[in-house]
């Protein structure tokens, strides 16, 4: 039994009948936190797993981890969101999203380890949590507002908005209930979510978003505009001194030293390099600081602070892919376009495919009076006026935005173009309708993990070391900081796998060692990233670019942090086994939804259109490790089928269907899950 990390209860809210109940966290503590708890709560609450994501019986969970609200570095501020999604294609799988900021911490300070929301309100509402007091409030005057306006309105209702930052604020529960310097942490949807957009996101504070899954649309379908929480309590930590020591060790050994930087970018004005140096504010990849004064900003408790806050107040905290949404025009226009996405509550990763629409326009297929009839100003595609009109059209379901609000995959299907355009690759949606992220033909932990799961995995911790660091260094013709052979040996040592697991050669990506590496990636991520809320831009720390021996913090520090916070000893091996258990539970839910191995195939271009740009990854050729350009690569369909068979065998799943077997589930203490699969006739042989 843990002595720290948890605050004791999970909030259950039913919007249909207004029930507000407590679930003891101890019932789900075996799952660790975050994703594991969310999957288990979902499994128990949703009896029919085949329902649509817009069905009122769908449950959306917001889960914290034992690390949330503590000083655990780069692990305190993430909130895991789960439920049946509406974005993936052709099936809306049970899925996950995640956002940073301070919501998870505030929820813990209020005394809750998570929230499960079910049902549908009769009219628009928002949920107000002030410590242990929870109420469902009328959203009149808030519904219809953009995401920033909605939060400001709720701040003014809950209290504290009139106070200056840094001042103490008393909560309305009485003088002795405590005080805080914080505004309520609010997660909200924008008009895109209200309009049931399948790519609507959740937004918290200025730029913390849960993008994938379409949870904005799911909350919109529940008539739920926002959840607000403010707390004045604290999180028990089993050994605070040990936690502080670990934080200082990690700060000294693995963080950017502002006073005496060890490693600096090879040239000025090259912000990408910051992902290697870990300099604060580095992940705002496209915007140069010189155009607007700014300072680094991070999620609560983070020691990297990868985002930026700008003096002009536009697109604060937008430090990831969304900052690349609109790259034509001026920097102010780039920032304004990203800001618009935030305010409308629209996920960049689908909306960014306007380049596909431009291709159709150029081909004479899309335009006024064309096969795909639109009045959007494609003739002025280089102007901000275009991107503004286009973005608003999707959020408001206007013009072709009505089709695009269903997601690009469904829109292309409606237009009769899905097969042709995903085969040629002009619509690059390799996995479940999600846009291409890292190259599915080469960096296969990403593509295998995505198609064997439910979404684009969006886990950068491994990718930074194996791809991005050598990529940057190769493009500026700098010798790699960590030679390929040393890199794979370091990762092998950290993961406990063979070096060949990190071989991206044409043969290496189909080898047994690679399959083991993919399984490790799923299990590690399911536990440490998604259940413990450790940020994927920091963890796993497989390699340290700034130390002499380049040895990373993984796997030594994760279990030590877990023990310091919870008081429970958990070995690295046992943590991976817990990750495997959670992965199996998720797989069982997908199987109950109808998953079969025949569906786990990428779209056509992945198998037929060779890569053209250099894409550096370690490869072992003729016994020698080096970074390869990996040009001219496709996946082989037959070999992919072989990979699936061997992956299923490794996981203890039926290779004919990909379904978990009773033996595997029972060995993981998941007998009830096996029974439910059996009852549905979907237990692996």
């Amino acid at each position: 039994m843990a002595t720290g990390g948890y605050v004791g209860k999970i909030l259950y809210v039913n919007l249909t009948d207004g029930r507000i109940e407590e679930i003891p966290t101890s019932k789900y503590e075996q799952w660790g936190g975050g994703h594991g708890m969310g999957s288990a709560v979902f499994f128990d609450l949703v009896k029919d797993k085949t329902i649509d994501g817009f069905d009122p019986e769908n449950v959306v969970t917001f889960m914290t981890s034992p690390f949330s609200g503590t000083l655990t570095p780069s692990a305190s501020g993430r909130t895991e969101v789960q439920g049946i999604g509406v974005q993936s294609y052709p099936v809306g799988w049970f899925t996950r999203a995640n956002f940073g900021g301070r919501f998870s911490a505030e929820l813990k300070y209020a005394g809750w380890d998570g929230i499960a929301i079910q049902g549908k309100a009769e009219k628009p509402v928002w949920i107000n949590i002030v410590n242990g007091e929870v109420s469902i409030e009328d959203a009149v005057g808030i519904w219809g507002l953009n995401t920033h306006e909605a939060q400001q309105k709720i701040w003014s209702i809950v209290g504290g908005d009139e106070a200056e930052n840094g001042e103490w604020r008393g909560m309305s529960t009485g003088r002795d209930s405590g005080r805080t310097t914080q505004r309520p942490a609010v997660v909200t949807i924008g008009v895109a979510g209200e309009n049931l957009n399948r790519n609507a996101m959740l937004l918290h504070d200025s730029g913390n978003s849960a993008g994938q899954g379409g949870f904005g649309g799911v909350l919109g379908s529940k008539n739920l505009k926002a959840v607000s929480v403010v707390g004045t309590g604290s999180v028990p930590v089993a050994d605070p001194a040990a936690l502080m020591d670990l934080r200082m060790e990690l700060q000294a050994g693995f963080a950017y030293n502002v006073e005496e930087p060890v490693l600096e970018a090879p040239m000025a004005d090259f912000p990408f390099y910051g992902i290697i140096t870990r300099s604060p504010g580095a992940s705002t990849v496209m915007w140069k600081g010189k155009d607007h004064p700014n300072r680094p900003q991070g999620c609560i408790g983070c020691f990297r602070a990868c985002r930026r806050r700008w003096e002009n107040g536009v697109a604060n905290g937008d430090g990831c892919a969304e900052s690349t949404y609109w790259m034509m025009g001026t920097q102010d226009e780039n920032m304004a376009a990203t800001h618009l996405l935030d305010q409308l509550g629209l996920n960049h990763y689908d909306a960014k495919n306007y380049s596909y629409l431009l291709a159709l326009y150029k081909m004479g297929i899309l335009g006024p009076g064309m096969q795909i009839d639109t009045k959007l100003p494609f003739e002025n595609y280089k102007s901000y006026a275009f991107i503004e009109a286009y973005t608003k059209a999707i959020a408001n379901r206007e013009d072709i935005g009505a089709d695009l609000a269903e997601g690009f995959a469904r829109a292309a299907e409606k237009w009769g173009r899905y097969e042709e355009d995903t085969t040629s690759g002009i619509l690059a949606l390799p996995n479940w309708g999600f846009s291409e992220h890292y190259d599915p033909r080469i960096e296969v932990e990403w593509s295998y993990g995505s198609i064997l799961g439910d979404r684009d995995i969006n886990e950068h911790g491994l990718n930074t070391h194996v791809h991005w660091a050598p990529q940057v260094q190769a493009m500026v013709k700098q010798a790699p900081l960590v030679p390929a052979e040393q890199l794979v040996n370091l990762i092998a040592e950290a993961t406990g796998l063979e070096p060949e697991g990190w071989d991206y050669s044409p043969d290496g990506i189909y080898a047994d060692a690679k399959i083991a590496a993919v399984a490790w990636h799923r299990h590690y991520s399911r536990f440490w990233i998604q259940s413990m809320g450790m940020c994927d831009t920091a963890w796993p720390m497989l390699v340290n670019q700034v130390s002499e021996d380049h040895k990373g913090a993984t796997p030594e520090y994760e279990p030590r942090l877990f023990e310091a916070v919870t008081g429970t000893v958990l070995s690295y091996e046992d943590s991976l086994e817990l990750g495997r258990k959670i992965w199996n539970l998720d797989k069982a839910i997908w199987v109950l939804q109808g998953r079969h191995r025949d569906q786990e195939v990428h779209t056509g271009y992945v198998y037929s259109v060779p890569t053209t740009a250099p894409y550096f990854l370690p490869a072992k050729v003729d016994g020698v490790w080096d970074y390869s350009t990996c040009v001219g690569r496709t996946l082989d369909r037959e070999k992919w089928e072989g990979v699936k068979t061997r992956f299923f065998e490794l996981e203890g799943w039926d290779p004919a269907t990909g379904w978990p077997t009773r033996a595997t589930l029972e060995a993981l203490d998941l007998s009830a899950v096996a029974d439910e699969l059996d009852a549905a006739g979907k237990l692996g042989a």
Binding site: S283, M286, G319, S355, Y438, M475, K477, A613
Partner: protein, 137 residues
């Protein structure tokens, strides 16, 4: 590294070449550039005119070419295809030859892109002046 005095390299283009080089291109004439960054991976971006290609390759608006620097970071173009596109589609043989000569140097990709910047600065200025002149007439 080869360094050029642009005015020594390019004769003034005529209005016909300027119009052809600066025109909006069709789908079949597009150039594909790979934009690389850590958040999004590598994305293929189709460009449909020369200024648009310049915008991506040098990471800024072409009219602020030397003011803004490399905002867009790594925008990768296959150098052989780019030279062919400049010569055959854009129709600027002189520019294509000069760019090819820069690309032949054994330097990093980033240095190659830096090396061709002055060529584009000069050529785009020539085209711009000609187009203004034509518009005034």
């Amino acid at each position: 590294m080869v360094e050029y005095e642009a005015e020594e390299l390019f004769a003034q283009p005529d209005a016909e070449l300027a119009e052809r080089a600066m025109r909006e291109l069709s789908w079949a004439e597009r150039l594909t550039i790979s934009k690389m960054n850590p958040a999004t991976g590598t994305e293929n971006v189709d460009v449909y005119n020369l200024p648009h290609a310049v915008l991506h390759l040098f990471g800024t608006r072409w009219d602020r070419l030397l003011l803004d620097g490399s905002r867009a970071g790594i925008a990768y173009v296959d150098t052989t295809r780019f030279v062919a596109w400049l010569g055959d589609v854009v129709g600027d043989k002189a520019l294509a030859e000069a760019v090819a000569e820069c690309f032949a140097q054994d330097v990093s990709y980033e240095e190659k892109i830096e090396a061709i910047k002055p060529l584009f600065k000069e050529r785009m200025s020539q085209y711009g002046a000609l187009m203004i002149e034509t518009a005034v007439e």
